[in-house]
Structures are given as structure tokens and as C-alpha cells.
Amino acid sequence: MGSRIAALLLRYLYLYRRSVARVMAIVFWPVMDLLVWGFVTAYLQRIEVPGPVLFLLGGVIFWDVFYSSSQAITLSITEEIWGRNILNLFVAPIRVSELMLATCLLGALRALASTALLSLLAWIFYAFRLTSVGFALAPFLASLLLFGWAVGMCTMALILRYGQAAEALIWGVPFLIQPLSAVFYPLSVLPAPLQSIARLLPTTHVFEGMREALKTGSVDSAILLRAFALNVAALLLASLFFAWMLGRVREKGYLGRLGME
């Protein structure tokens, strides 16, 4: 099992050796995000907006973890469809779970590389130290990674089922989640009905927890536990949804159509 996952991971890592676009996805866009929000933060500090505003930078770095994790799954498999390689993978003696696990690991590596780079730049340019709270923030990052996998799995299931018509979801779903996750503002800013929905998302608790940690210097373990509990539920539901959808895809013959047309 391990060697098959390693082979799949190798297949995706080979791409990064010569693809400028893929390296840009890790470096350029997240850095541009960081710069924009960094300057906004610097401006807000200069005009002496009350309260800590550095959490905006934390939001940018944390959000990228979720985004990278989700995109690694959806883009990797979508590229197999675009390149008409998906059938080669589905007729190889690998489990679908191995394919998903390989893309999840790719997402973790991407998120790790991106987080390290953004943290370094945020420290150099804005004197923002992500590690100021210590490594207690690491479980929050892990939580975002897990939710990214769950969202990636659901998006992937829809792409396998609906093909090109669903490809916009790769970029759309994370940005549908972003306003509800209270990435750059506290949950209390949202209207009451949306707060109830937002509380169902692990990301909301992660960003609330991150702001609290940056403000007080300590991590609220209750928030962390809530995020993890919701992640377990999200991953379970996403796995069930993916398995059910894959069954439907096999029944309807969509897999062959995706791979050969």
C-alpha cells in the first residue's frame, strides 16, 4: 500500500520539478495575498484602529493552508481527467483510498511549503511572528488541513459525477466557505442566522481560536476540540459521500466517459 501511495505522490511531485505554474500556486499567489493584507494591516496600525489587527496576517496564512489542502485533491484529479490519464489510474491495481491519500499528502506538503514561506515573509516585512504563541497553533493548522481534505473529497466526487460542468467548484467552493468561516473578522460580525451555519464549520472555530491565541498568547483547548470534532464528522461525511458518488459514477458509466472523451 505504502509503495503505491509513494508512486502516486511521486507522479505529482515530478510535475513541480518543471512546472512554473505549480510553483506559482505555492509561491506567487499566497505571497501576493500576504502583501496586500500586510499593507492593509500596516495602514490600519498607522491610523491606530483600536484592537489587534495583526490577526489579518494570521488569517491570510491560515486560510492558505485550507485552500492548498483542498486544491491539491481537486486539481490533481481534475488534471488526470484533462490529460485523459484518469482511466490509466482507475485500471491500475490501486484503491481509490490510496489515490485520495496520495493527493491529501500532496496537499499537506504544499500547505507546509506555503506556510513556511508566508510565515518567513510576514516576519521579515511586518514583524509578525506566527510562532509567537508557540507551537500550540500547530493543531489549528492541522485542523484546517483536515477540513481541506474533506471539502476536496466532496468537490472531487461532484467533478467525477458531473464532469466539466462542476469544474468551477474547484475554485468556487473554498470561496463559498471563506465568508462563513470568519477568516478576517470575528464570528459576531455575521448576521445571527449565518452565525448558526458558520458554527457548523471547523474553519470558523479555527479562526476564532487563532485570533484568541494571538490576542491572549494562549490556546483555548475547548475551541480546538470543537474544531477537531467537526472535522471528524466532516471527513466521515465526505468519505461516505465520495464512496456513494463513486458507486453512482460506476453505475452510470461516467468514469469511462470522463477518461475517453
Binding site: 509503495s3 508512486a7 502516486l8 507522479r11 512546472s19 490529460g83 485523459r84 490519464n85 491495481p93 475517453m260
Partner: protein, 252 residues
């Protein structure tokens, strides 16, 4: 005592809503034979291959490969078989060697380098090993697909129009290679093609499909005798135009 068939299909049916893409299909393929699955576009060839590979689930019927039920032992079957199609490609942004290396590892080869080199040599494309796959000519890409399909030294090979994009010279070389491997390794091949001349040269048995149903089965010579056709090409055209030959014959 005769050996059990490597591929055994019984009463296979696949419906998509009201349409039967495959309708009560039964056939078997013995070890070391090249079996041609033929018919016009939309006859059900590709759906049948997808059912045999477990990519699509059947509505009814059974498929056994190596005596194993495809629905329950799919991975074990796939470990011993492989697939290549003119309509499926390897990732265009990896080099030839990288692609083969990845798939060799997916099929569990411990030291893939030697096998990769052997196959590139066999298909006369060793000079493109470091070339990005997207830069290959269609003939080279087809031969690369066949290299991938032979990586795990399969016992059964599913080939969907493998020579569709090859010039006559390379197509002839590919057929010769497949014939040689089939004889040396007793490889079983399920083959689809629209090139009836190729089918006559290569296939031990053929099955003509029309609207998901079997309308002729036997050796190329037998089906020609049954149909009183002069060539498989002529028979193919008759089936494509008249549909189900049996119902045509019954009416006459």
C-alpha cells in the same frame, strides 16, 4: 483436459435508462488467444471493455477473469492484466521514463529501470526516454501507451483500438510485437479495432456486436462462412448498415 477460459462473460447486460448498451452478452476467451471485439460505433465494445475492467457496474450478468468475479476481486485481476487505448494518454507533462517509472511502481515492480529500458527498446523508442510525453508524435505516444500496458507482464491485455493513430509501417511492427509476446508468454488479448484487415491478421476469434448484442462469433473464417461475406470489412459494413444480422436473416 481443456483449461478454463481466462475471460468468461455470461448474460452481461448494461442499461443506461431505457437504452441497453450491452444486452445479454455471453462469450469466453481462452488463454493465449487474441479475441477481437468488433462492431460499429455505439455497438457496445467500449462499454463491454469498461465492464470487464470494473470501471462500470453491470445491470445483470457475470464477468469472471482468471476464474475470479470482477465485482469482488477487481484489484487482484487488475494486478495481472493491463489496458491501453488510443483514447487514453499518459500525463503529457512527465517524461517518458518518469511516466513508466510511476506506473511500474503502481504495479508493484521492485526494480523498474530494467523493465522500462527493455520495453522502450522493444517498441523502438529508447531515444525518447527523457522526452516530455506531450512532445511525442502520435505514433510514439501510442507505443509508449503499449509500453505502459506491458510493464507488469500481464496475462490479459485489453487493447482498445491500439493502432488507430499509427502509420502502416509502425502498425505492422506493433502487431508483430503483440503476436510475438502473445505466443511467447501465452498472453490473452481482448482487442477492438475498426481495421478489419488487422483483425483478420491478428485475431484467433472475433465477436461482432450490434446494439449491444452478439450477432456473429467464431474464427474470422467461420464468421465469413456463416455470413457468406467475402471479407470482414464487408461483414462489418453489413452489420453497421443492417444492425442485427440475425433479425435481418429471420425476416428474409
Amino acid at each position: 483436459m481443456s483449461q478454463p477460459p481466462v475471460i468468461e462473460v455470461r448474460d452481461l447486460t448494461k442499461r443506461f435508462g431505457a437504452v441497453a448498451a450491452v444486452d445479454g452478452l455471453s462469450f469466453s476467451v481462452e488463454r493465449g488467444r487474441i479475441f477481437g471485439l468488433l462492431g460499429p460505433n455505439g455497438a457496445g465494445k467500449t462499454t463491454t471493455i469498461q465492464l470487464l475492467l470494473g470501471l462500470t457496474t453491470p445491470t445483470a450478468g457475470t464477468i469472471r477473469v482468471f476464474g475470479l468475479d470482477v465485482a469482488r476481486h477487481r484489484r487482484a485481476i487488475l494486478q495481472r492484466s493491463n489496458f491501453s487505448s488510443a483514447y487514453v494518454s499518459l500525463p503529457s507533462n512527465l517524461t517518458v521514463r518518469e511516466n513508466l517509472h510511476v506506473f511500474a511502481r503502481l504495479y508493484g515492480l521492485r526494480r523498474p529501470q530494467r523493465r522500462v529500458a527493455e520495453l522502450l527498446e522493444l517498441f523502438e523508442i529508447p531515444d525518447v526516454a527523457k522526452t516530455v510525453t506531450g512532445a511525442l508524435s502520435s505514433g510514439q505516444a501510442t507505443r509508449l501507451n503499449l509500453c505502459k500496458a506491458l510493464l507488469n507482464d500481464p496475462e490479459v491485455l485489453f487493447l482498445d483500438e491500439p493502432t488507430a493513430s499509427l502509420d502502416p509501417d509502425i502498425a505492422e511492427k506493433v502487431r508483430a510485437i503483440l503476436r510475438r509476446i502473445q505466443r511467447e508468454r501465452a498472453l490473452t488479448i481482448l482487442y477492438t479495432s475498426h481495421n478489419m484487415r488487422e483483425v483478420e491478421i491478428l485475431c484467433d476469434r472475433v465477436l461482432f456486436l450490434s446494439k449491444g448484442r452478439s450477432v456473429r462469433e467464431g474464427t474470422p473464417r467461420e464468421v465469413l462462412e456463416q455470413s457468406r461475406a467475402e471479407s470482414l470489412e464487408q461483414l462489418f459494413i453489413s452489420i453497421a448498415r443492417d444492425g442485427d444480422l440475425r433479425s435481418t436473416e429471420e425476416r428474409s
